[in-house]
Symmetry: C2
Subunit: 369 residues, 2 copies
C-alpha cells in the first residue's frame, strides 16, 4: 500500500502508479531531446529519471522558445537540518536557474512546520535561520534569488492566500491530504500559503510569466488542488517538475528524511562522519560473502551506494561501468561505498566552503517588501 501526500509517505512508492493517480505526465525521450536542444544539455537527473514527471513543462518550453521569461519556485520547510535529499532537489533547481537564466523564488514555510510539528515557534525560527545558510551555500545567484518567508512576508502573501483559500473547500483538502476534523485550522488553511509564490512574483512585478516548480512528488497534492485556482485568479497555471524520493541510506521504503540523525547525510557532516555513516548504514545489494558476491554479483537496484551514485556520479559511462561491474561481482559493496563517500565529500566540501560566508548574505536574499 502506497500513500504519498506532503504529510505522509508510506510504503514502496510505485512511480508509474503515481503518474496515473496524480494525473501527471512522464518525462519521455521526446521531451528530454527538446530540453537538450534548448538548454544545450540535459541534467543527469533528467536522463536518469530522478526528475521523472511533470505538469505543463511543454508550455514553459514553448514560452521560453518564444523569448518569454519564466520564474522558478521551490522551498523548504524549516524543522530540522538540511540533508542530501534537499540538496538533490536544489542542485537541479540551480541548474535550471543557470541554464535558463531565470529568477528563483524560494519559500520558507515556517508557518507550515510550526502548524504540523510538535515544535515551538522559536525552534522553527532557529531552524529557518540555519536552513537559510545551507540554501545560500548551494550557490544560488543572489541577484536572481528571493527568499519568501511565510510569516515575515505575510503582508504580501496573506492577501493573496485568502484569494486562493476562498476557492478551496475543506472537502477538497480532506480528499487531497487525508485530513480529518481533528486537524488544526491553521494546517487546513496552509495549502493556500504554499500556492502563493506560484503567482506572487507576477503580482509584485506586474507581469504574467509562467512559473516552474521543481519539487519532490509528495508536494504535488498542494498544486493539484491549486493550479486551477491560480488560473481562475487570472494567472498562468504553474508548471511542475517532479522528483522521485531519494531512498534513505538504510534502503528502507519511504523518503530520505532527517528524523534519524545517525543515518542521514547532512550538509554539515565532516568527511569522517560521512565515511562512517555510509559504511555503517548504507544498505548493501551485495551477497553475504565475498566469494558468493564474486560469483553471483550484487543487486544494483537495492544497493543504496549504487542508487545514490545516480545522484552524484555525473559521468554516464562511469556510472554504467560501476553498475555493470557491481552486477557481475567485479566490484564489492565496500568499493562502491568508497566511491560514494568520495563524491559526497567533494560536494560537502564545496557547500561547506560557501557556508562560511553564507550567514552574512541572508539579508541580500530575503525579499524586500
Amino acid at each position: 500500500m502506497t500513500k504519498v501526500t506532503p504529510y505522509d509517505v508510506e510504503g514502496d512508492v510505485d512511480y508509474d502508479r503515481l503518474i496515473t493517480e496524480f494525473g501527471i505526465k512522464k518525462i519521455d525521450d521526446k521531451l528530454l531531446k527538446r530540453i537538450e536542444k534548448i538548454a544545450g544539455e540535459v541534467h543527469p537527473y533528467l536522463r536518469r529519471g530522478i526528475f521523472f514527471a511533470h505538469r505543463d513543462l511543454e508550455k514553459i518550453l514553448d514560452a521560453y522558445e518564444k523569448g518569454e521569461k519564466f520564474f522558478l519556485y521551490t522551498g523548504n520547510g524549516p524543522s530540522g537540518p538540511i540533508h542530501i535529499g534537499h540538496y538533490s532537489i536544489w542542485s537541479f533547481t540551480k541548474w535550471l536557474q543557470d541554464k535558463f537564466n531565470v529568477e528563483l523564488w524560494f519559500q520558507f514555510t515556517d508557518d507550515e512546520k510550526f502548524l504540523y510539528k510538535n515544535m515551538t515557534y522559536e525552534e522553527i525560527q532557529e531552524w529557518m535561520h540555519k536552513n537559510m545558510i545551507d540554501v545560500i551555500a548551494m550557490g544560488f545567484d543572489p541577484k536572481k534569488t528571493h527568499f519568501l518567508i511565510d510569516t515575515k512576508h505575510a503582508s504580501i502573501m496573506y492577501p493573496e492566500a485568502i484569494k486562493v483559500a476562498k476557492k478551496i473547500t475543506f472537502s477538497t483538502i480532506k480528499a487531497a491530504f487525508g485530513f480529518t476534523d481533528s486537524n488544526n485550522i491553521g494546517s487546513i488553511f496552509y495549502t493556500a500559503m504554499q500556492t502563493v509564490p506560484a503567482f506572487l512574483p507576477n503580482v509584485l512585478n506586474n507581469k504574467n510569466e509562467y512559473c516552474l516548480i521543481p519539487l519532490g512528488v509528495d508536494q504535488d497534492p498542494h498544486f493539484r488542488i491549486s493550479r486551477d485556482v491560480v488560473q481562475k485568479l487570472g494567472h498562468k497555471k504553474p508548471a511542475i517538475i517532479h522528483a522521485k524520493f531519494m531512498s534513505p541510506l538504510t534502503g528502507a521504503a519511504g523518503k530520505s528524511g532527517s528524523t534519524e540523525n545517525a543515518k542521514t547525510i547532512f550538509m554539515t557532516d565532516t568527511p569522517k562522519e560521512v565515511k562512517k555513516k555510509v559504511n555503517k548504514y548504507a544498505f548493501s545489494g551485495g551477497k553475504e560473502t565475498v566469494e558468493e558476491h564474486r560469483k553471483k554479483g550484487g543487486d544494483v537496484s537495492v544497493d543504496v551506494a549504487c542508487q545514490w551514485l545516480k545522484y552524484f556520479e555525473e559521468d554516464d559511462d562511469k556510472l554504467a561501468e560501476i553498475y555493470d561491474k557491481y552486477s557481475k561481482g567485479e566490484l564489492l559493496s565496500g568499493e562502491v561505498k568508497a566511491m560514494l563517500i568520495e563524491k559526497l565529500n567533494e560536494i560537502l566540501a564545496e557547500i561547506q566552503e560557501r557556508r562560511k560566508t553564507a550567514e552574512k548574505k541572508i539579508d541580500d536574499f530575503v525579499y524586500k517588501m
Copy 2:
C-alpha cells in the same frame, strides 16, 4: 428557534437564554454601581440593559482599581455602509476610551468579509476605506486609537494567528459556528485572525495588560473558543462586554443590518432621508386609529421609535416620560417618530461634520508597523 453566531442571527433573540447558552454573565446592579463608582457615571446603554452581559469585566475593574491599564479592542467587517447599529457599539466604546483613558485597537476584518461575502477583494477594500472615514468620524482620540487591517498588518498578525490556530481544531469551529466541510479553508482559519488583537498590543509593546472587547453578542463565539487559547499562549484572558442587537427599523426579528438600504439609517443619510425612512418604515406600536390609540395607548415594547430612543435619548426622566405618555395614548406614534428623527439628525450632523476632515486622518489612525 433562535440562532446566534457571527454568521447567522435568526429568530427572536431570547437574551436570558443566550446568557445560559453562551455561559456569559448578566451585568447586574452591583456591577453597575461598581462601574459608576470608578467611572463617575454609568453609560445609558449600561443602565438600560443594551450592554447586558460580560465575561470577566470584574477582572478589568479590579486591575484598573489597582492602577493597572487595560486596552480596548473592537472592530468592523467592511462590506457595506456604516449604519446606526455600528454607531451604537462604537459610541459606547468611545465612552469607555474617554472615561478610562485607554488605548483602542480597532480591527478591520477585510479578510473575513472577502472570505464570507460574494464580493471581490477590491470591493471590500473600497468599503474599508469608506468605513474608516466613518470610524474616524466617531471622534476617537487619534493618539490612543490604532487601526489594525488584517491584510495590511498580516506580517504582525499572521505569525500570532498561527499560534492561536494550532490550538483550535475544525471540530471546535464546526460546533461554534455551524460550519460544514463545504466551508472554504480561509473562513475556517479566520477566527484565529479575529483573536489576535486581543493580545497583539501586548506583544508589540512587551506588556501584559488586560483587554476589554465591546461587541455585539453574535461575535461572542469567536472568543468563547479563543479565550482559553489566548491564556495558554501566556497572555491574559480577554474580557468581553456584550451588546444586544439594535432592532431593525422595520421591527423584524434579527439584527439591524445594511442589506436593505431604504430601511436602514446610514451615517451619510441627509436629515430628509432620515425623516423619510423613520416615518415610512419604523414599525409602530400604536393602535390602528388615533381614537383607539388615545383610548388604549401604544405598545412601547414593539414600537421601534420608542425602542431606538433608548439609544439616543440620554435623559432617563425624559425617556420614562415618553414611554409613559405613549403607553397611555397621550403621545402618538408620529410624535415619537419626530423625537427620534430629531435625535438621529443631531447625531448624524455631528458625525457628518467630523466626516469632512476624516479621510485625511486615515494615515494617523493606521498602526505603523
